[in-house]
Symmetry: C2
Subunit: 423 residues, 2 copies
C-alpha cells in the first residue's frame, strides 16, 4: 500500500487557493481567466518538476504525463477541472487535479513500478460559470459518443459562441479560447486509442460521508435526473380593488402546487430521492398587483428510472386540475439517464479504500461531473472525499488535508490496480 503525503497535499491546497482568492476563504476562478492561467502555470511548474510531459489540445485541456515501463500501453488518467463558480471553494474541481498531481508525485518520489503511462488532465470549463453550459468541454470532446438528446446541447460551433453571463467579461468562449496561452493541438485530445481508464476524485458536496464518519466514498453511479418547469396562469388585477373570490392568483396557485408536489412525492416513501425547486419567477411581481403568471423549476434525481417515471406522473398530474382558478402547464427542460461507473474500476477503488485502512462506503453522485461524459469514451469511475457540512459552491467549502490525502492514496492505489489489470 503506497501512501501519499499530507504535507505535500496541504502545500498544494494552500498554493492553489491563492489563484483567484475571493477574500472570504474561497476563490472566483472562471475558466480561461487570468486566475485560471495562474493555476495552470502552477500545474505546469509542479508537473515539469517531476519530469512529466505537458500537452495541450485545441480546447485548452491540459495533460501532464509520466511514462510507464511499457511504451505501447494506453494511459491511465486522473481528470478534473481548475475552474470554479463565482465565490466558490478551494476544492470543487481543483482537488481532482491536485489528487492526480499527488499520485504522480508519489509514484516518482517512491519510484513505484507501473506499466502504463499515468496522466493528470485539466478539463476546461466544467462549471460553465462564465460561459455556460456546465461540462461544456467534455460535452464537445465526447459529442459523437453521447446520446443524441445530450449531444445536441454541446455542438462545437454553439459552444464557441457561448456568451459570458458575468459583467466585465466581454468575450465569448471562442474568443477567450483563441487568446488562451494553453490552447494546443486538436490531435492531443483524449481518446480511446490512447487512454484506457479514467478516475475523477472530487469532494462529495453532500453530508453523507460526514454523517457516517467516513473519509472517502467509492462512487457507484451518477443519478439520472429530469428538470421540468411548471407554469401557472391566472390574471392580473389590483390588490386593493379586486375581491378575493373573483381572483385567479398565479402565485397562490403555484404555492398550492408546490406543497402538493412535496406531499405526493414524499408519499412514495423513498428518502434517497432528491427533488428541488430552486427557481421561481413571478409576473408582474409588483406588490399591488395579483400575479398573472408564475413559473417554478423542479429538479428530480434518482438512480431508478421507474421511480423517476412515478415522480413524473405526479408532475404531470398537476396539469389535470386548476389551482386557485389558474391553469397549470409543464415543460421538460432536460433529462439524463443514470450513468453507472465501470465495474472493474469501481472494484479497484473499493479494494483500495479497504486496504488504505480509511473509513469508507459506497456512495452515489447527485451532481454532474465531466467523468459522466468521458464514461461514454473509456472506463471511468469516481472517488469522493468527505465535505464539511456538505457545503460546496461556496467560499465556506472545506475538506481536511488529511481526508484529501486519503482520497489521493485511494486514487493512486486504484490506478496501480488498473495498471496491472489492463494489458
Amino acid at each position: 500500500m503506497y501512501k501519499c503525503s499530507v504535507e505535500r497535499m496541504a502545500d498544494k491546497i494552500n498554493t492553489f487557493s491563492k489563484y483567484g482568492d475571493a477574500g472570504h476563504g474561497g476563490i472566483t476562478r472562471y475558466a480561461l481567466s487570468e486566475e485560471d492561467n495562474m493555476a495552470r502555470a502552477e500545474f505546469v511548474k509542479r508537473m515539469e518538476a517531476i519530469g512529466a510531459t505537458i500537452e495541450m489540445d485545441d480546447l485548452a485541456n491540459m495533460y501532464a504525463t509520466i511514462p510507464g515501463s511499457n511504451p505501447d500501453a494506453k494511459r491511465i488518467v486522473v481528470q478534473s477541472h481548475s475552474d470554479s463558480v463565482k465565490n466558490g471553494g478551494n476544492y470543487d474541481g481543483i482537488l481532482g487535479v491536485m489528487t492526480g498531481m499527488e499520485a504522480l508525485e508519489t509514484v516518482v518520489e517512491q519510484n513505484i513500478p507501473h506499466e502504463h503511462p499515468f496522466t493528470v488532465m485539466i478539463c476546461t470549463n466544467e462549471e460553465g460559470s462564465l460561459n455556460p453550459p456546465a461540462m461544456m468541454v467534455s460535452g464537445i470532446v465526447c459529442n459523437d459518443l453521447l446520446p443524441k438528446d445530450l449531444a445536441k446541447n454541446f455542438q462545437y460551433d454553439d459552444m464557441m459562441a457561448s456568451k459570458p453571463m458575468v459583467d466585465g467579461f466581454p468575450a465569448n468562449f471562442g474568443e477567450m479560447l483563441k487568446n488562451s496561452p494553453y490552447r494546443g493541438d486538436k490531435a492531443n485530445r483524449i481518446n480511446a486509442d490512447k487512454y484506457c481508464a479514467m478516475f475523477e476524485t472530487h469532494i462529495e458536496q453532500g453530508p453523507i460521508l460526514e454523517a457516517n464518519n467516513n473519509e472517502v466514498g467509492a462512487v457507484q453511479f451518477v443519478m439520472g435526473m429530469f428538470n421540468y418547469s411548471l407554469i401557472f396562469k391566472g390574471f392580473a388585477a389590483h390588490a386593493g380593488t379586486f375581491p378575493m373570490d373573483k381572483r385567479h392568483d398565479a402565485l397562490y396557485a403555484a404555492s398550492q402546487a408546490l406543497i402538493y408536489l412535496h406531499d405526493e412525492i414524499d408519499k412514495l416513501g423513498r428518502p434517497e430521492l432528491v427533488y428541488t425547486t430552486g427557481e421561481i419567477y413571478c409576473h408582474p411581481c409588483v406588490h399591488t398587483v395579483i400575479p398573472d403568471e408564475v413559473e417554478f423549476s423542479l429538479d428530480v434525481r434518482h438512480e431508478d428510472p421507474e421511480l423517476r417515471a412515478k415522480v413524473l406522473d405526479i408532475v404531470k398530474s398537476v396539469t389535470e386540475r386548476k389551482w386557485a382558478g389558474c391553469t397549470a402547464e409543464i415543460r421538460e427542460n432536460w433529462k439524463r439517464d443514470t450513468v453507472y461507473w465501470n465495474e472493474d474500476l469501481k472494484g479497484f477503488v473499493e479494494e483500495a479504500c479497504e486496504e488504505s485502512g480509511a473509513n469508507w462506503q459506497k456512495i452515489q453522485a447527485g451532481a454532474g461531473h465531466d467523468a459522466q461524459f468521458f464514461s461514454y469514451m473509456i472506463p471511468t469511475t469516481m472517488v469522493f472525499v468527505r465535505t464539511k457540512d456538505g457545503i460546496s459552491h461556496s467560499e465556506d467549502e472545506f475538506a481536511t488535508p488529511e481526508d484529501c490525502t486519503v482520497g489521493a492514496t485511494v486514487t493512486l492505489n486504484a490506478m496501480l490496480k488498473a495498471d496491472k489489470f489492463y494489458k
Copy 2:
C-alpha cells in the same frame, strides 16, 4: 338635473387616447414625458376654448378655472391625473380630468348659474411609474398636514431626486420638472384658503359595480392598509447531493407560510377583506441550488382597524415557528389608516346619483388616489365609474362613454349642490 354630453365625452376619450398610444388599445404616458405634454396641451386648448383661465404651480400641477358669480367664493375643484402606468389604459387618471372638463364645458354651454369658481386640476405624477413613489406630488403639496408616518415618505428634496425606474429616461424627477413647459409658480398651489371642496372621479378598477349592474358608485372611504415583507432563511446546498431530511429550503418554507396565511386569514370569515402577495424574491434562484432566502410581500386592506390588527397578529404568528427548518422574519413597509370622505360631499354625490336616474351604490375604494392626501387639506370625495371586468393598469382597461358621462353628470350635479352649500 343638468346632463353632460355623451358625444363630447366620447370625443375627449378618443382624443386623449392618442397621446401615448401604446399600440394595443391603451397608453404609456409617464408624468412630464412628451406624451404627457401632448395631453396637457390638449387640456389647455379645450379649456381655453370655454374661456377658462390656466394656472400652473411649481410642481407642474395645472388648474383650469371658470369664474362663478361671487368673486370672493372659494373654488370647487375636480382633481385627477394625466399620467399612466406602462401599458396602462385610457381611463385611469385621465377620466377624472375629462370629467372635470366635461362638467365645466356643460356649465358654460348651458350657462348654468353658480357662485363659486369651478376648477379642473391635473395633479402631476400620481402613478409614480417613471419616478416613484405613487401620489408623489399630492404628498408634497399636503406634506405639512399628513400624519408624520406618511409625510416622511414625501419630502420635497427626496422627491426631486427620485430616479427613473425605466430604461431610456436618464433624468431624475427634479430635472424633468425643471425642463417642463408646464412648470409655474409655487403661489398657484392648491390650498385651503382658495379651495373649499374637491371631487375625484375615477374608474372603479374592480368588478363590483359591474357585478351589481350599477353604472356609478358613491365612494364612502379608502380602506386602510398595511404592507409587510416576510423573509424566510434556510441554507443553500446542491440539489443533487443534499438529502431531503437535512434541507432547510427557504422556498418550501415560504410556500407553506403563504398557504398558512391564506388559511388563517380566511378563517376570519370576512370576504370584503383583501390581501395579496404580489412579489416574491428567491436567492440564489438557480435550478440546481436549494434556496437559502426567500422574501414575499403581503398587502392587506380593510376599513376596520380592529380587523387589520387581527390579520397583523396572524402575520406576526408566522415568526413564532420554523417553516421547513427555516426561520421567519417580518418587516413593516408601510401602513395607512382608513380615509373617510367628507360627509357633506358624500351626501351630494349620493343625491346626484339618485336624481340622475342611474343605477348606483355606495362603494369603498381599495386603491390609493391623490384625493386621500388632499382630504387632509379640504373636504374631498370620490365618484367611481363601472369598469369592464374590473381590469385596470392594463391596455384592456375599459369603461363605456355612456358610463363615463353618467359619472360626469353625477359629478357636475354634486358640484352644484356643493356650490349652494358652501358660503
